[in-house]
Structures are given as structure tokens and as C-alpha cells.
Subunit: 809 residues, 2 copies
């Protein structure tokens, strides 16, 4: 199907499909609509549609460079601002709307691309364009500015950059100003006043941030108070008067203001570069050398942008599809995949919703994120698995809940009943993608015992054993501090409460471990259990069987769904006898995904989901919302918010997967569409609030004043799971142990679709036809014109392109 | 001397002496120039000169009501803003400059008084006046607004209030927005839309904040996003269009916007009240009942303001003076005393410099603060001593470093070598002020042993013993994590480093303990020491003598000053052999104050201070500043900043005390004047930066780019100690064990001064003459016309006024 140029257009913006850009057409979006620069996770930044957002080097807590305060009325400040002053009238405005918001641009457009953002605006006949990106392999954030005179007369302008530097670690910078305020220190290069160095003294080992402009400067300021003078950030005295004062900051708020004066003939344009970078080692000469290669070299800048586009395009080329749903196509082909990549780099650390002040590489978050980006970076996935497991896993098999990608150290308490299980899922998915079974032989130690080194396989096995040995009175694993749902649980020492979700997950993970055991030739291993030694496969089968049996025996309800767990008194919740939280989403979906439910129960459970939890805005996590949570404290949120009956998006794709497994393609698709951003954000993008190009963590549920509003975009497990649901379950192009399965489950009225998938060193061009209008079922498959048995494409590993024809029916 | 109406006038403001107000005449001060409302420490707020600042109930961390983000370019937001819209032109502006800063008022004035702030401004012929205060005994913050039409035509206006409510505890609100953002919830009263209730769900026990306006409303908004619409806080769509939308917030940013429409004839004015309060219990009916008494009752509001002024006036009446220095007079009579009172209420928790996010009732801070407000609240001082000691003291005699005034619990680690010693000083000062020796009999327990109850005397004794038993190789107490100077020290487990300052303080505290022992009749007590029992006075004398001897033997330097301590290798610092930090201020001053130095050494040490540390902007804490601190980490600050050679103000008055003890009145006064805010802030108040009416924690030293700039105003031990230095040492009106000493040490060219002091139930009207132009020395004293021996006025405790004539010479 041909892709339209503008898709999902609203009064706030549209998708430019061919250019892989989302175009925002008004500056005052209902929330900052952001993008990321720095796709390699080294020098990185958030860039909003008004150029707001911070820049950091590797870690937004420890190595923050510029400030961003996300709380309250002015959430999108500060930013990479440029003030433009007409030196004849004295009028000035902002090239990206903020912070001179009372001057409305005559024209405005923001284009968020993959790793770059371009903001164009026009006022009083002066057009500006600001392009932001970080070149591949460099530690430089480039702001390429074009200023053009669209009038008939000569125009004399002064341009004033603005950057606001943090004084130390981001947390101290924000909360401990009586300390941090004294650290502000910027030097201007003694020979070249186009360059400033951000000196902070608290840690000599940090790289040295620098900021520079490509043109000769009329002056500079580094002291915010001097820059503002008798005005404010909307009305800085220096800009108002058109004259920087060459201030050198010594405390309080350090800023990067360069004044560049330009005179433009009619139609003339001027290009300049503002470059923020870091030098390692901490050395001014190093910084100058780097700048020497870039400053004013517009050809290099523009070719670096093309290189970045290629880099991103290569990532996305691993999977592309053509489907009869423009919204789905642009999410799968571009934005959902891009969001997965961003989650790879930033986990849950910093977004419009996360402040970057915590140690927020979450264990289970990162393990689930792998599902979404693994095919785009096999090496990255492998490294992440090993790095993370080495950082967090404890000798008892459980895991610390977080780790630092900077220090590679685990952080946070254990006590989560599920962290360790996700590692089996992630490794299984990795092996299915790569056939790299050798990863199981990698040796490393435990977070609480650096003397004990074992291979990855044994690390995973300890996780299984941990859950097996931590079962409660009903034979179901204990809930402890929490399972996947952070907001239920009674604490790490609670010995009573149980989690049906973990019980179900344990089945899935034990089954995957059986295959990993076989594939790695470890069948001879024996495991000690109850004082006797069992062959490992028998042991794992016992784990899966006992958990399956316990869940079905204890947690299946006559009402037609699975209970969620027991509280600290051993009483069930997620059951119809409760006044609140009668049914939860998670166990229904996983019971299908793990094969715990037989078909009859699976159908009944998922019908209950449809009947009781599904809304036009997505599937609620539970219903009804609680005044007092049966376990944990999710009633802190109003009913319909977050885990208290909100449309928590992360498990929504689990329902898509489950329905796909059941073969009910229309329902799977309805679930998928309900939270698909380009669709969900229409026709009321202001109410929807969030960016239409990425998933959010949640939408508010039907019990909430803001029903349907979306929040928590970018960094959420929703991204990976929706990507999995769309590509592997709806389209059914799914890596399996022995090859690439094609097992679609689509709406009955789809006549087919096509997809290109890179897999184990070959490229598969897959064309699926659905002549009989079924939802599921593959009648025939040919590869390169030859029919094959079944629907699993062999792994050719030949570097070639293979044409695959699939007929459903 | 008659007080001039305007004192210390600059281009930014002046003191209105008769009205006890500081008048700010420009809105864009170099930093927010703040004031406090809520003198009783219950409902409280900061009010800046643009009406910025938060409101909280009892505790700015746990019970924050409105938001204030103090970081970066826009430090003074949000606030108690009022937008004024001209409904004929559509133009709008702010009644307090912020946040519509691009519209400059035609006239502007802010008057900070004692517990109230009045901001007047005028634009387009509309004058507004906003008065902010919290009535005595009430949990209500009143904003009384007067709007007046100063033009010849009828004017139709809409007024829009703005309050921004925090969503939970202040720390989570600022840093954990993915949690806190979901808690925003405001209800508007169903019967009376002039009232809104700020519902947050995370703690049912919290009081219920409410916000109301006295006039019928044209509408309201509680959802910030709706209020801003397509604009920003400088340009909210609702204000621009003149129409609220009656939004009910359910997440993100909760605001309190009321729209009141008024039509004013020429010269007509309108009064309205905006009231922010809390109801306890958490009950809407209770809130409505409170509002019923206040809303629209302007007579009650105005009389409450008068009552507040009386309340503050009564506090200040405890000490008033007339001196030949207007700056000193207004500080001693009003502002320094007021600052001491504010420190009593808020310790180091929240100011323009402290974010209120920590547990910042510091142990030694609060104990020193007592010196400054004790005479204004004998009961308050007594309660604070007992509450604090009960919260923080450990069984070994040392103290936790912080405590919560809300929960009355200690917080933070021990390991500070001085916390416990300040308690002796505070109790001694309390007994000197009150003669309430019975306080020593109060029984309470230890923070780490709630089963062990002892009287206050034994608590203090444990502190002395702790220091005695924690001496290092030179017989000087160990430095541990830090002494008074937070930034030196090697950690709680360091057994080597020693603190000369603590050694000297120990002498002073042991001597005070001897007097407390005698006064409380505890001479018979015996103390175990080195396996034998000593009479307590012998024990204390031994402590004082050994410490005196050790300090003089080990720490006195031929160069003419005392060393500061030893580092973790046992090597001395604060010695001339070091390249950096050759001399520190603290030990020189305390060696005089504690009587450790003989007169010759005292003179030499203080001359070294004068020669090496004194600058026109105050006395530096050390010199030269360090690239690597000899102990601790103060080199994190640039040279000349804070403890790294800055003019740390807190110990400056120690030098005043020391010079007064030495009788060098001209030098004492020069030291005092150097950081006296009304003097120091001239002639360059923009460079000085801070409020000219209160002390700051520091000024930058001569090695720093910002030499002379002041920071950290309001909450600092500088306040109490300067008050002590001015009243008890320069003016010499000093409570002593046996009465009120009059022992001035003044500039030689002062011909005298007078003072009124309330003391132990009587009032002393003291007139001091200095006919011979001496600095020190009292020749004769008469009380009520009768000569007395010596210069200690007896404690009459008769409720009467006694006239005291003192002749120096």
C-alpha cells in the first residue's frame, strides 16, 4: 500500500510518513512533546517541540549537563533557546516559542525525526530554523541555526543563545541549592571567546562540558543574574538592551549566552552552529581540538545528519511491513521501533515523566525492553543481558531491582517476586532471535557474592529455583514486595501473600528453561530438590506442572477468570466477592500466554477481560478501582488512575498476544487499536494530551475525570510489548527456537499484508494473503517458490534475500 | 536619637523605620527578596517581593501546600499571583510583576513587615494592593486585595487568582513526578463555587487545605493545562480570553484559579480576600465553618493585621536600643531580632537558599539559634531545649545531627564532634536569662535508649564526658565527621584527626557546667573517671584545665595564632607551613571567648585575624583558599566561596565578641559593621544581591569572582550570633548567672547609647554615657538613682520599670 504523506492529522500535527517525522504545527502542545537525541546512549538529550530539555553524558543523574525542571506550570524549561532581536525596533522573540511566549510566532513547525529535531518558526519576516542532533560516534550536541530575512529590506539582528548548566549531580542541583549554587563556574576561552568551558569542581574525573558558537561573537554572558538584569527569562535585560556584558559566573545559575550580530539582505540567510559537547579527558585543549573539526563546518554537520538518518534507517530495516492500517504501519515501521530503541538506551531514567534523578535502569524493565530492540542490536542485547545479570542477581536466585548503566552496579533491595523470571524470558527470546546458545556458557558472579562465578544457565536456574522454593500455602509463589505490579505486595518479609501472576509466569519460564537445557545439551545435569537429585528436565517439568496445577486448582474462579493473589491474611483478591478490584487483567493474559489455561478457561478468562475491563480507550488493569487496595497501596491514586483501575498500557499488549494465541484476530486487533497512539489521540489530541507518536505508560480509566488522557510516554514497557504484539502476534512474524515462524492472527477483513524481516543473517520478504477472510491459520508457505512444511521459515544464514509467500485459510 | 523615616536607601529600596518595614521599590530584585508569614510556625509561608513562595503547614517537607521551585533562571515561581485583565482592551498584567513580567508596572512597591507583606502596583490606571499575612492563632493565609480605578472612566476588569498546589510531600512532588503527578485532585464546593478543597489521597491524616475567595465568582479552574490552554503561565489562554472553564483537575498540575469580575467607577475601589487555609480534622464542613467567619469580613481581617503587629511588637519590646548608628539600630531593634525569631520557627528548613526538602532542624543550629530568640520566648526556648535533646541525644553523650519538629524524632547520623557541647551553652544561656535552674531536673530518655531516663543535667554531663573520652594523640578532642565547620573532618570512624575548636569549646562548656552544678546544688555528685570517683566539680575543672593546657601546648603557633586541627595522618592544618588554609578564624575567636588564651596570646591571635582574614566585606573563614582541603572536602567550592575561604558570616560575630572581651571596641565595631546588611549592601545592592534587612550565611571572599556578594539569607546562625554580639558584647547588656550585666564595648567616639531590656520579670531602662571616649570600662552604675557595686543589675522580678544610669570611663 502506498504511504500517504500526512497521516493522522489533527489540529496539533501529523505524521510525515516518507520522512519518518512527526510534524507539530502549534508550539503550545498540551504537554511538552519530546524527542531524544543521542541514539548511542553516550551524549544524549531530550528535545521538546520548543527546544526544551536537558543534555547529559551517559547518565542523567550523575552526569547531567543542562537543567530541566519538569514540575508545575512551566514544565518545559529551560531549553536550547535562541532569542532573536531586531536591532532596529528593539523587539525580540524566541526561535522556538519558549521562553518569550507572549510573542506568538507567525509560523511554527517542529519536526521530530529519529534522533533529531528541527524547529522552524517565523516572526516579523525573519525565519529561523534550528536543527538538533548528536552525530553518530561523537560527543557533541549540534544546534544548526539558519536565520533568513524574508522581507524586502536589510535587517540587523542580534542572536542570543541560552543554555542553563547544572552545578553538580542532577539531584543535588535541584534539591540542595545551598550547596550546589556555589559550584557554578564557567570559563570563557582566553583566545577565542566563541568557546566556553563549564567548570565544576566536585569531581575532577568528570568530562569537561563545553559550549561554542561558530561565528564571531559580539559578547557573551555566563551569569544568569547579569543576563536577566532587571528583567526575567521572558524579558532578559541583556536581550532587551541588545548587549551582552561578558559576565563570568561564580555562583548561582550558570548560563551559556553568546551574542552574534548579523545583518541580512533581503532573502539572505545565515547558518551558524551552536555546539555543546564534552571532552574526555577533562581538558580544554581537547575541547578546542574537537571544536576545530566542527565549528562552522556546515558540510560536515549536514553529512553527519545524513549519517544519523542512515544509522536509524538501518536499525529500522530489520523489520518493515505494509499493512492495511496506516496507523499501525507507521508505528511498527518507525515509531514503535524507535521508542523501543530509546527504551534500550534510557530504560526508565529520564523523559517528560521521569526526572532522571533515580537509579532507573530497572531490572525487569530492561529485561522486557530487550524484547523490543533485540533484533535491531544483537550485540547490544547480549551485552545488556550479561551486564545486567552480573549487576543485579543475588546468590539466592532473586535480583536487585535496579542497576546503574554507568557504574554497572546493582542497586535497590530485592524482594520483588518476578525480577529474576524475566531474565529467562529475555534469554529465551535472545536465543530464538540469534541461535546464540553459547550465551548460556558466559561465566559471571553474583551481586552479593563476587567470589562465586557460574555460567548464565545456572544463574537462570537459580531464578527458577528461587520461585519454586518461595511458594505459599496454596503452592503459588509468594508475592513479597511486589510482582510485576509494583503497587501490590506486602513487603519483602511477608510469608503469606501469593502472586498468581508469578505462578503463571513460572510455568512459562520453566518451559523455556527446558528448551534452553535441551538446546545447550545440558540434559545430563541434575538438580537437588527435596533432598534428592533430579534430572534437570524432570525438575523443570515438575516446576511447570506443579505451578500449572496449583494455579488452576486454587486461583480459577467460577466467575470465569483467575484470581490475582492472596493478601497478607491469605485471603484472595481479584475475586468477585470483593467489593473492589474484583478482576485484574494480568493473570488472564499470562494464563493464555503460558499455556496454563486450557482452551475453555482461556476463552472464558479473555471474555471476562473483554466484558469487564475493556473500554474504548483501552483495557483497564482492574475494576472497580479501590478506596482501600486489597494488597499494597495503589489506592493512593484516585480511582481510574495508574494501577488503581487505570488503563495501564503495559499489559494491554499481553491481551493482544493472548487473543492472537486464541485465534481471535478481530478482538486482538481491537485491543491493539484502542491504545495505538495515532488512533487514540484522535479526534481530541488536547484531551489525549500526550505525543501521538509514542506509547504512554497509562491512560486514565473510566472511573477517572480524565478518562482517556495519556501519560508517561516514551519510557515504558508498553513499547516493547506492543511491538511484540504487533509484529510477532498480529502479523505473526515470530522468531522461534528453530526458525522464523509466520503465524498471523489478523482481522478477518484484511486481505493480507507484507513484511520484510532480517533474521539470523538472511532477509525474508514475506507476503501474506488472506483470500478466505480468516483471522488465523496458515494453509501454505513457499520460500523462494518452493513449498515448505509448516509455517516456520528455516534459518538460512546466507546473507541473501528470500521470498516467502504465505496463504492463510 | 530620632529615627529617620527612610534609612539605607538604594536604587532598590529602603528601610521605613517607624513602620518597621523594608520597602522594595523595583520588582526585579537581583534575587527574590523574601519575607515569612506565619510567626507561630503552624501555617507558614514565604512571600517574596513578587508574591512568590510556598505555603506549608508545620513542616515544609511533609506538609507542603503550594509549590515553589527555587532552581535556575526563574527562581521565584510560582506564587500567590493575581492576573488583572482589562475586559475592554483585553490587555492583562500581574498585580505583583510575576509571572507576566514583560508588562512592567507603572508603579510598584513591596513592603515587608514583621509577618506580613504588602505589594502595591499600578498599571493602566488600575492600582492593586495585595496584603499577605497569617492571623495570630489561625491556620489561614490571607491575601487581602484592593483594586482601585485611578482613571476617569468606568473600568471593567476580571481578576484571576493563581495558586499552584503540590501533589504530595514536597520531595516527591519535585522529584518523583511519575508518582506525584497522579495525585492532583481538587474539588470545588458543590454549593459555593467560591471554595475549593485540595484533596490528595496519600495520607488521610493530613489536614485538608482549602482555598477560597470572598466575592462571587465568574468561574474557576483547577487544572493548570486548561488554564494555560494554548499559552503559558505568562500568557494563559483563560486570562487572555477572559473566561475560566470550570475545570476539575485529576492529574498533573493542580491550581487554584478564581475569576472575579469587577466594574469600577472612577476612584472606586474593591476589596476582596483570597484565603488559603487548612482544616483539621480533614473535613470540608470544618473548612466552610472557618471560612464563614473570615470571608468578606474585612473588619476582622484588618484587626487581625493589627493584632499581628502587636504580637510582633511585643516580641521585639524585650530589647530596644537607641544608638548612634541607624543601621545598627534598625537591625537590633527590628530586623535582626525578627530574623532570630524566624530561625526559631524554621531553623534551616526553607528559605530562598534552602529547599525545605530535608530534615533540617539541625541540632547545633537550633541550639545556637536559642541564643537569639530566648529572651523573646522563654517558654519556647525551654520547650525547644527539652524537645530537641529528647529527640537527638544518644546514650554515649553525643547527638544525632538533625531532628524533625513535626515528629519530634531525631534524624541523621552522629559523628559530629560538637553537637552535644552546644547544648551546654544553650542551657547555660537559658539559665542566665531565666534563673530557671529547675530545667536541669527535667527527666527524659535517649534517642537510642528510650528505657533510660535521666535528668537534663546528666544529659549534659554525658556530652562533656563524650568529648573528654574522645581525645586524640595530642589530648585534643577528635574531629570525627566534622565539628562546627561541616566541611572539615574525616568521617565518624576516624581516630586520628583532632579539632582545636572542639577542644576550646570544651573548656567553655566545662566551666559553664561547673556553674550549673553549683547553682543546682549538685556539688555532691561524683563522676567515675579512670576507674576512680571524682567530685563532679573536680572532674569538670580537670576537663577544662586539661583542655586548656593541651590546646595551648599543642596548637599555639609561633606565627601568632592557634592551629585548627590535625588531619587523618595526625598532621596539623591551619598552620603557616601549609601552602593553603594557613589560618582559620574559628579557634582564634573561641580561644578568647572560652578564656583559653591568655591576654597576650588573645591579642596576637585576634591581630592575626585582623591582619590576615579581615576584608572590607567581612572576615574570611580561612586563607588562602584550597585546591585540596587539608581535611574534609571544602575545596569542592571555588576559592573564596563558602568554607573555602569565603566570608562565612556565622563566625564573624565570634570575632566581635572576642574583641569586645579584649576591650577593643573600635575593632569589634568594624568587624560588626563589615557584614551589617544595611551597610554592606551599599552602595552596590545589585552586586550584594541579597536582602539588605537580614543576614546571610556567607559573602564571597577576596579570592572569588563575586567578592562581597551575599548569599544564604534568613536561616543562618549568623542571625543569633550577631544579635548576641551586638546586644550582649558591643552594647554589653548581657544576662549573667546573677543578674543583668551592663558591660559595653563600643567605638571610642560614641558618646553613649540607651537600651530597654526586659529581664526576669522587670524592665530596665538603661542609659549609658561615655564622657571620656573610652571603648570599655564602667565607672559607675546607678539603679533607680541608687549607686550599685559592679556592673551587674540585680534581678528584681517585680514587674516594674527600673532606670539605670551607666557611666563609662
Amino acid at each position: 500500500m502506498a504511504e500517504a504523506a500526512k497521516v493522522a492529522e489533527t489540529q496539533l500535527g501529523y505524521f510525515d510518513v516518507p520522512n519518518r517525522e512527526y510534524v507539530i504545527t502549534v508550539p503550545a502542545t498540551p504537554a511538552p512533546w519530546i524527542n531524544y537525541v543521542g541514539l548511542e546512549g553516550m551524549l544524549c538529550g531530550i528535545v521538546s517541540n520548543t527546544a526544551g530539555g536537558p543534555t547529559w553524558f551517559r547518565d542523567p543523574l550523575e552526569r547531567r549537563i543542562t537543567r530541566y525542571v519538569q514540575v508545575g506550570c512551566n514544565k518545559d524549561r529551560p531549553g536550547r533557546w535562541l532569542y532573536v532581536r531586531d536591532n532596529e525596533t528593539g523587539e525580540f522573540w524566541s526561535a522556538s516559542y519558549q521562553p518569550v511566549t507572549h510573542v506568538k510566532p507567525d509560523a511554527y513547525e517542529c519536526r521530530h525525526g529519529l534522533g533529531y529535531t528541527k524547529i522552524s518558526s517565523s516572526y516579523a519576516g525573519i525565519a529561523t530554523e534550528m536543527l538538533h542532533f548528536i552525530p553518530v560516534g561523537e560527543h557533541l550536541e549540534v544546534q544548526r541555526v539558519v536565520v533568513r530575512n524574508d522581507t524586502d529590506g536589510q535587517r540587523k539582528l542580534s542572536l542570543f543563545s541560552y543554555r542553563e548548566f547544572v552545578n553538580c549531580t542532577a539531584a543535588n542541583d535541584l534539591t540542595n541549592i545551598q550547596y550546589s549554587g556555589h559550584l557554578a563556574h564557567v570559563d570563557v576561552d582566553e583566545q577565542d571567546s566563541r568557546i566556553m568551558y563549564v567548570i565544576t569542581r566536585q569531581d575532577g574525573a568528570r568530562p569537561l562540558p563545553f559550549f561554542a558558537v561558530s561565528e564571531p561573537v559580539a559578547g557573551y554572558d555566563t551569569e544568569c543574574d547579569v543576563f536577566l538584569g532587571d528583567g526575567s527569562i521572558e524579558d532578559p535585560q541583556v536581550v532587551r538592551e541588545g548587549k551582552t556584558r561578558n559576565s563570568l559566573v561564580g555562583d548561582d545559575t550558570a548560563v551559556g549566552v553568546f551574542q552574534v550580530d548579523v545583518s541580512l539582505s533581503p532573502g539572505e540567510e545565515k547558518v551558524l552552529h551552536l555546539i555543546l559537547g564534552v571532552a574526555e579527558p577533562r581538558d580544554k585543549d581537547d575541547a578546542k581540538a574537537i571544536l576545530g573539526r566542527w565549528l562552522g563546518n556546515d558540510e560536515k554537520v549536514l553529512s553527519a545528519l545524513e549519517e544519523l538518518k542512515s544509522y536509524a534507517g538501518d536499525l529500522l530495516s530489520t523489520f518493515q511491513c505494509s499493512v492495511p492500517d496506516d496507523h499501525m504501519a507507521l508505528m511498527v515501521n518507525t515509531w514503535n521501533a524507535y521508542q523501543c530503541w530509546i527504551n534500550f538506551q534510557f530504560s526508565r531514567s529520564i523523559s517528560g515523566y521521569a526526572t532522571g534523578l533515580g537509579r532507573s535502569m530497572g531490572t525487569r524493565d530492561s529485561l522486557q525492553d530487550l524484547l523490543g530492540y533485540m533484533h535491531m542490536s544483537l550485540d547490544g542485547a547480549r551485552r545488556r543481558i550479561l551486564e545486567l545479570m552480573n549487576a543485579v542477581q543475588l546468590q539466592d536466585g532473586s535480583c536487585q531491582h535496579q542497576y546503574s548503566a554507568l557504574t554497572k552496579e546493582g542497586a535497590g533491595e530485592g524482594g520483588f517476586s518476578d525480577d529474576h523470571l524475566w531474565s529467562v524470558l529475555a534469554v529465551a527470546a535472545y536465543v530464538k532471535e540469534t541461535a546464540d546458545i553459547g550465551i548460556l556458557d558466559e561465566q559471571f558472579t553474583y551481586s552479593d557474592n563476587r567470589d562465586l562465578s557460574e555460567d548464565l544457565y545456572h544463574h537462570l536456574l537459580r531464578g527458577i529455583r528461587y520461585s519454586l522454593n518461595d511458594r505459599g500455602a496454596h503452592g503459588i509463589p509468594r508475592l513479597r514486595s511486589a510482582d510485576w505490579n509494583d503497587t501490590i505486595g506486602e513487603g519483602p518479609d511477608d510469608e503469606v501473600s501469593e502472586s498468581v501472576l508469578v505462578g503463571i509466569m513460572l510455568v512459562k519460564m520453566a518451559k523455556d528453561m527446558m528448551r534452553l537445557t535441551e538446546l545447550s545439551g545440558r540434559e545430563e545435569l541434575e538438580v537437588e530438590h527435596d533432598g534428592q537429585k533430579l534430572p534437570v528436565l524432570d525438575y523443570l517439568k515438575m516446576v511447570a506442572d506443579e505451578a500449572t496445577e496449583a494455579v488452576n486448582r486454587e486461583a480459577w474462579l467460577d466467575a470465569g477468570w483467575y484470581a490475582r493473589g492472596t493478601d497478607s491474611k491469605g485471603e484472595w483478591f481479584g475475586v468477585p466477592e470483593r467489593e473492589e478490584a474484583k478482576i485484574f487483567l494480568e493473570p488472564q493474559t499470562w494464563a493464555v500466554m503460558a499455556g496454563v489455561a486450557d482452551r475453555e478457561r482461556a476463552i472464558r478468562a479473555m471474555d471476562s477481560v473483554h466484558e469487564r475491563l475493556f473500554t474504548p480507550n483501552g483495557i483497564q488493569i482492574l475494576t472497580p478501582g479501590c478506596t482501600v487496595a486489597p494488597s499494597g497501596g495503589f489506592h493512593v491514586f484516585p480511582r481510574g488512575a495508574k494501577e488503581n483501575g487505570g488503563i495501564f498500557c503495559h499489559p494491554n499488549p499481553w491481551a493482544v498476544c493472548a487473543e492472537s494465541i486464541l485465534g481471535r484476530g478481530d478482538r486482538a486487533y481491537a485491543f491493539y487499536r484502542a491504545i495505538l497512539p495515532p488512533a487514540a489521540s484522535q479526534p481530541a489530541p488536547v484531551h489525549y494530551c500526550a505525543e501521538p507518536y509514542v506509547y504512554g505508560q497509562l491512560r486514565y480509566g473510566s472511573e477517572h475525570r480524565q478518562f482517556g488522557k495519556c501519560a508517561g510516554t516514551w519510557l515504558t514497557g508498553t513499547a516493547a510489548w506492543n511491538y511484540v504484539a504487533a509484529t510477532q502476534y498480529i502479523l505473526g512474524v515470530r522468531p522461534e527456537w528453530d526458525g522464523l515462524a509466520v503465524d498471523p492472527c489478523i482481522p478477518a477483513d484484511w486481505q493480507g499484508f507484507s513484511a520484510v524481516r532480517k533474521f539470523r543473517g538472511a532477509t525474508y520478504e514475506i507476503r501474506v494473503s488472506n483470500p478466505n477472510g480468516v483471522c488465523k491459520g496458515v494453509k501454505s508457505v513457499t520460500v523462494d517458490g518452493e513449498p515448505i512444511r509448516g509455517n516456520v521459515l528455516p534459518a538460512f544464514e546466507d546473507g541473501k534475500v528470500h521470498r516467502v509467500e504465505v496463504a492463510m485459510g
